[in-house]
Amino acid sequence: MIMNLEVEVLEEGSTTNVLLIGEIDAYTVPKLKEALLPLTEREGQLVEVNLERVNYMDSTGLGVFISALKSTKEHKSELHLIGLQDRVKRLFEITGLDSIIAIDSKVRGGN
Protein backbone atom coordinates (compact mmCIF):
# COMPACT_ATOMS: atom_id res chain seq x y z
CA MET A 1 0.00 0.00 0.00
CA ILE A 2 1.31 3.44 -0.96
CA MET A 3 1.45 5.71 2.05
CA ASN A 4 3.05 8.55 0.18
CA LEU A 5 2.23 10.93 -2.62
CA GLU A 6 3.96 11.23 -5.97
CA VAL A 7 3.54 14.40 -7.99
CA GLU A 8 4.34 14.26 -11.73
CA VAL A 9 4.23 17.48 -13.71
CA LEU A 10 4.08 17.55 -17.52
CA GLU A 11 3.98 20.85 -19.40
CA GLU A 12 2.26 20.95 -22.79
CA GLY A 13 2.13 24.51 -24.05
CA SER A 14 -0.52 26.41 -22.15
CA THR A 15 -1.64 23.28 -20.29
CA THR A 16 0.13 21.84 -17.30
CA ASN A 17 -0.82 18.27 -16.48
CA VAL A 18 -0.31 17.23 -12.89
CA LEU A 19 -0.60 13.55 -12.11
CA LEU A 20 -1.00 12.63 -8.44
CA ILE A 21 -0.37 9.11 -7.22
CA GLY A 22 -1.02 7.98 -3.66
CA GLU A 23 -2.69 9.52 -0.62
CA ILE A 24 -3.35 13.16 0.25
CA ASP A 25 -3.32 13.76 3.99
CA ALA A 26 -1.65 15.95 6.64
CA TYR A 27 1.69 14.28 5.96
CA THR A 28 1.77 14.43 2.16
CA VAL A 29 -0.10 17.70 1.64
CA PRO A 30 2.91 20.08 2.04
CA LYS A 31 4.53 18.38 -0.97
CA LEU A 32 1.38 18.86 -3.04
CA LYS A 33 1.02 22.50 -2.03
CA GLU A 34 4.63 23.25 -2.85
CA ALA A 35 4.34 21.67 -6.31
CA LEU A 36 0.86 22.87 -7.27
CA LEU A 37 0.70 26.51 -6.21
CA PRO A 38 3.58 27.85 -8.36
CA LEU A 39 1.99 26.21 -11.43
CA THR A 40 -1.13 28.35 -11.01
CA GLU A 41 0.84 31.59 -10.99
CA ARG A 42 1.22 31.91 -14.78
CA GLU A 43 -1.42 33.95 -16.58
CA GLY A 44 -3.49 32.01 -19.11
CA GLN A 45 -2.19 28.64 -17.95
CA LEU A 46 -4.59 25.70 -17.54
CA VAL A 47 -3.56 23.47 -14.67
CA GLU A 48 -5.19 20.08 -15.02
CA VAL A 49 -4.82 17.86 -11.96
CA ASN A 50 -5.40 14.16 -12.55
CA LEU A 51 -6.64 12.47 -9.36
CA GLU A 52 -7.34 9.09 -10.96
CA ARG A 53 -4.70 7.39 -8.83
CA VAL A 54 -5.45 9.17 -5.57
CA ASN A 55 -7.08 6.52 -3.41
CA TYR A 56 -7.37 8.62 -0.27
CA MET A 57 -7.91 12.31 0.39
CA ASP A 58 -9.24 14.33 3.33
CA SER A 59 -9.82 17.99 4.17
CA THR A 60 -6.10 18.78 3.96
CA GLY A 61 -6.42 18.14 0.21
CA LEU A 62 -9.54 20.29 -0.04
CA GLY A 63 -7.54 23.10 1.60
CA VAL A 64 -4.79 22.95 -1.03
CA PHE A 65 -7.24 22.95 -3.93
CA ILE A 66 -8.97 25.98 -2.40
CA SER A 67 -5.58 27.75 -2.17
CA ALA A 68 -4.85 26.81 -5.78
CA LEU A 69 -8.26 28.07 -6.90
CA LYS A 70 -7.66 31.40 -5.16
CA SER A 71 -4.29 31.63 -6.84
CA THR A 72 -5.85 31.04 -10.30
CA LYS A 73 -8.27 33.93 -9.72
CA GLU A 74 -5.37 36.15 -8.72
CA HIS A 75 -3.14 35.18 -11.65
CA LYS A 76 -5.84 34.67 -14.31
CA SER A 77 -5.07 30.99 -14.79
CA GLU A 78 -7.39 27.99 -14.60
CA LEU A 79 -7.67 24.88 -12.45
CA HIS A 80 -9.37 21.66 -13.46
CA LEU A 81 -9.58 18.49 -11.41
CA ILE A 82 -10.10 15.31 -13.41
CA GLY A 83 -10.46 11.58 -12.86
CA LEU A 84 -11.73 11.77 -9.28
CA GLN A 85 -12.58 8.47 -7.64
CA ASP A 86 -16.07 8.34 -6.14
CA ARG A 87 -14.80 8.62 -2.57
CA VAL A 88 -12.72 11.69 -3.33
CA LYS A 89 -15.51 13.28 -5.34
CA ARG A 90 -17.89 12.75 -2.45
CA LEU A 91 -15.83 15.05 -0.21
CA PHE A 92 -16.18 17.90 -2.71
CA GLU A 93 -19.92 17.26 -2.83
CA ILE A 94 -20.45 17.08 0.95
CA THR A 95 -18.57 20.35 1.46
CA GLY A 96 -20.26 22.10 -1.48
CA LEU A 97 -16.90 22.79 -3.10
CA ASP A 98 -17.96 21.00 -6.29
CA SER A 99 -19.94 24.14 -7.10
CA ILE A 100 -16.85 26.37 -7.27
CA ILE A 101 -14.06 24.07 -8.42
CA ALA A 102 -14.17 22.64 -11.97
CA ILE A 103 -14.42 18.89 -11.42
CA ASP A 104 -14.75 16.09 -13.92
CA SER A 105 -14.58 12.50 -12.78
CA LYS A 106 -13.76 11.32 -16.28
CA VAL A 107 -10.30 11.57 -17.74
CA ARG A 108 -10.18 12.80 -21.33
CA GLY A 109 -8.79 10.44 -23.94
CA GLY A 110 -5.10 10.67 -24.77
CA ASN A 111 -3.93 12.91 -27.59
Binding site: M3, D25, A26, Y56, D58, G63, K70, K73, I94, I100
Partner: protein
Protein backbone atom coordinates in the same frame (compact mmCIF):
# COMPACT_ATOMS: atom_id res chain seq x y z
CA UNK B 1 -22.42 -2.84 32.18
CA UNK B 2 -22.11 -3.12 28.44
CA UNK B 3 -19.15 -5.29 27.46
CA UNK B 4 -16.74 -4.09 24.85
CA UNK B 5 -13.21 -4.56 23.60
CA UNK B 6 -10.86 -1.64 23.86
CA UNK B 7 -7.83 -0.93 21.71
CA UNK B 8 -5.52 1.96 22.45
CA UNK B 9 -2.80 3.41 20.26
CA UNK B 10 -0.45 6.18 21.31
CA UNK B 11 1.48 7.98 18.60
CA UNK B 12 3.70 11.06 18.47
CA UNK B 13 1.72 14.16 17.47
CA UNK B 14 3.30 14.23 14.01
CA UNK B 15 1.65 14.15 10.56
CA UNK B 16 3.57 11.02 9.51
CA UNK B 17 1.51 8.95 11.96
CA UNK B 18 -1.89 9.97 10.59
CA UNK B 19 -1.61 7.29 7.90
CA UNK B 20 -0.69 4.62 10.41
CA UNK B 21 -3.74 5.39 12.56
CA UNK B 22 -5.84 5.32 9.38
CA UNK B 23 -4.59 1.81 8.60
CA UNK B 24 -5.34 0.66 12.16
CA UNK B 25 -8.84 2.12 11.87
CA UNK B 26 -9.36 0.22 8.67
CA UNK B 27 -8.25 -3.00 10.40
CA UNK B 28 -10.56 -2.59 13.38
CA UNK B 29 -13.56 -1.57 11.25
CA UNK B 30 -12.99 -4.38 8.78
CA UNK B 31 -12.86 -6.89 11.62
CA UNK B 32 -16.22 -5.60 12.89
CA UNK B 33 -17.94 -6.07 9.54
CA UNK B 34 -18.36 -2.48 8.39
CA UNK B 35 -18.89 -2.07 4.64
CA UNK B 36 -16.23 -0.67 2.32
CA UNK B 37 -18.01 2.70 2.16
CA UNK B 38 -18.33 2.91 5.95
CA UNK B 39 -14.66 2.03 6.42
CA UNK B 40 -13.72 4.83 4.04
CA UNK B 41 -15.92 7.24 6.04
CA UNK B 42 -14.25 6.13 9.28
CA UNK B 43 -10.79 6.57 7.76
CA UNK B 44 -11.54 10.16 6.76
CA UNK B 45 -13.22 11.07 10.07
CA UNK B 46 -10.41 9.68 12.22
CA UNK B 47 -7.73 11.23 10.01
CA UNK B 48 -9.48 14.58 10.40
CA UNK B 49 -9.43 14.27 14.19
CA UNK B 50 -5.77 13.20 14.04
CA UNK B 51 -4.91 16.12 11.75
CA UNK B 52 -6.55 18.52 14.21
CA UNK B 53 -4.59 17.05 17.09
CA UNK B 54 -1.31 17.10 15.19
CA UNK B 55 -1.73 20.63 13.83
CA UNK B 56 -2.64 21.72 17.27
CA UNK B 57 0.51 20.28 18.78
CA UNK B 58 2.64 21.77 16.03
CA UNK B 59 5.15 24.36 17.16
CA UNK B 60 4.92 23.44 20.80
CA UNK B 61 8.19 22.83 22.60
CA UNK B 62 7.32 19.55 24.26
CA UNK B 63 6.92 16.37 22.22
CA UNK B 64 3.20 15.84 22.12
CA UNK B 65 1.37 12.55 21.91
CA UNK B 66 -2.02 11.68 20.51
CA UNK B 67 -4.01 8.85 22.05
CA UNK B 68 -6.49 7.02 19.88
CA UNK B 69 -8.91 4.64 21.60
CA UNK B 70 -11.24 2.24 19.79
CA UNK B 71 -14.25 0.97 21.75
CA UNK B 72 -15.54 -2.09 19.90
CA UNK B 73 -19.21 -2.78 20.77
CA UNK B 74 -21.52 -5.37 19.18
CA UNK B 75 -23.52 -2.63 17.47
CA UNK B 76 -21.05 0.22 17.06
CA UNK B 77 -17.51 1.52 17.00
CA UNK B 78 -16.57 4.38 19.29
CA UNK B 79 -13.33 6.18 18.51
CA UNK B 80 -11.70 8.64 20.84
CA UNK B 81 -8.89 10.91 19.67
CA UNK B 82 -7.25 12.78 22.53
CA UNK B 83 -4.62 15.45 22.29
CA UNK B 84 -3.19 16.22 25.69
CA UNK B 85 -1.65 19.44 24.58
CA UNK B 86 -3.31 22.79 25.00
CA UNK B 87 -6.97 23.48 24.37
CA UNK B 88 -8.68 25.48 21.69
CA UNK B 89 -11.57 27.86 21.66
CA UNK B 90 -14.44 25.54 20.85
CA UNK B 91 -17.10 28.14 20.15
CA UNK B 92 -14.71 29.85 17.76
CA UNK B 93 -14.09 26.57 15.98
CA UNK B 94 -17.81 25.78 15.77
CA UNK B 95 -18.48 29.10 14.10
CA UNK B 96 -16.05 28.24 11.35
CA UNK B 97 -17.38 24.84 10.41
CA UNK B 98 -19.98 24.11 7.77
CA UNK B 99 -20.19 23.49 4.04
CA UNK B 100 -19.28 26.07 1.45
CA UNK B 101 -22.14 28.53 0.91
CA UNK B 102 -22.82 29.90 -2.56
CA UNK B 103 -22.94 33.40 -1.07
CA UNK B 104 -19.33 33.26 0.09
CA UNK B 105 -16.78 34.74 -2.25
CA UNK B 106 -13.83 32.61 -3.27
CA UNK B 107 -11.46 35.18 -1.77
CA UNK B 108 -13.06 34.69 1.64
CA UNK B 109 -13.20 30.95 1.39
CA UNK B 110 -11.42 29.30 4.27
CA UNK B 111 -8.70 26.82 3.48
CA UNK B 112 -9.06 24.91 6.71
CA UNK B 113 -12.04 24.19 8.89
CA UNK B 114 -13.67 21.48 6.82
CA UNK B 115 -12.26 18.84 9.14
CA UNK B 116 -14.82 18.98 11.94
CA UNK B 117 -17.58 19.45 9.40
CA UNK B 118 -16.54 16.23 7.66
CA UNK B 119 -16.31 14.31 10.95
CA UNK B 120 -19.85 15.40 11.71
CA UNK B 121 -21.09 14.45 8.24
CA UNK B 122 -19.41 11.04 8.15
CA UNK B 123 -20.04 9.78 11.70
CA UNK B 124 -23.37 9.08 13.45
CA UNK B 125 -22.49 10.91 16.65
CA UNK B 126 -19.70 13.34 17.58
CA UNK B 127 -18.82 14.79 20.96
CA UNK B 128 -15.99 17.18 21.68
CA UNK B 129 -14.59 17.76 25.13
CA UNK B 130 -12.26 20.60 25.74
CA UNK B 131 -11.04 20.51 29.32
CA UNK B 132 -7.45 19.30 29.41
CA UNK B 133 -6.51 19.18 25.79
CA UNK B 134 -9.08 18.24 23.18
CA UNK B 135 -10.95 14.95 23.05
CA UNK B 136 -13.04 14.04 20.04
CA UNK B 137 -15.39 11.11 20.61
CA UNK B 138 -16.96 9.68 17.47
CA UNK B 139 -19.48 6.88 17.05
CA UNK B 140 -20.45 4.86 13.99
CA UNK B 141 -23.14 2.18 14.14
CA UNK B 142 -23.13 -1.12 12.30
CA UNK B 143 -26.08 -1.47 9.91
CA UNK B 144 -27.46 -4.76 11.14
CA UNK B 145 -28.20 -3.18 14.50
CA UNK B 146 -29.42 0.18 13.36
CA UNK B 147 -29.93 2.21 16.53
CA UNK B 148 -30.20 5.92 16.90
CA UNK B 149 -28.67 6.82 13.58
CA UNK B 150 -28.84 10.50 12.72
CA UNK B 151 -31.53 11.52 10.31
CA UNK B 152 -28.97 13.05 8.02
CA UNK B 153 -27.28 9.70 7.53
CA UNK B 154 -27.79 8.23 4.09
CA UNK B 155 -29.63 4.95 4.47
CA UNK B 156 -28.05 2.02 2.72
CA UNK B 157 -30.12 -0.68 4.38
CA UNK B 158 -30.84 -3.55 2.03
Amino acid sequence: MELFDFIEIKVPAKPEYVGMVRLSTSGVANRMGFTYEEIEDLKVAISEAMTNAVTHAYGKEEDGEVTVGFGVYPDRLEVMVADHGGSFNLSEVKEKIGPYEQTETIENLREGGFGLFLIDALMDKVEIKNDYGVIVLMTKYLHENEVGIDDDQISTTQ
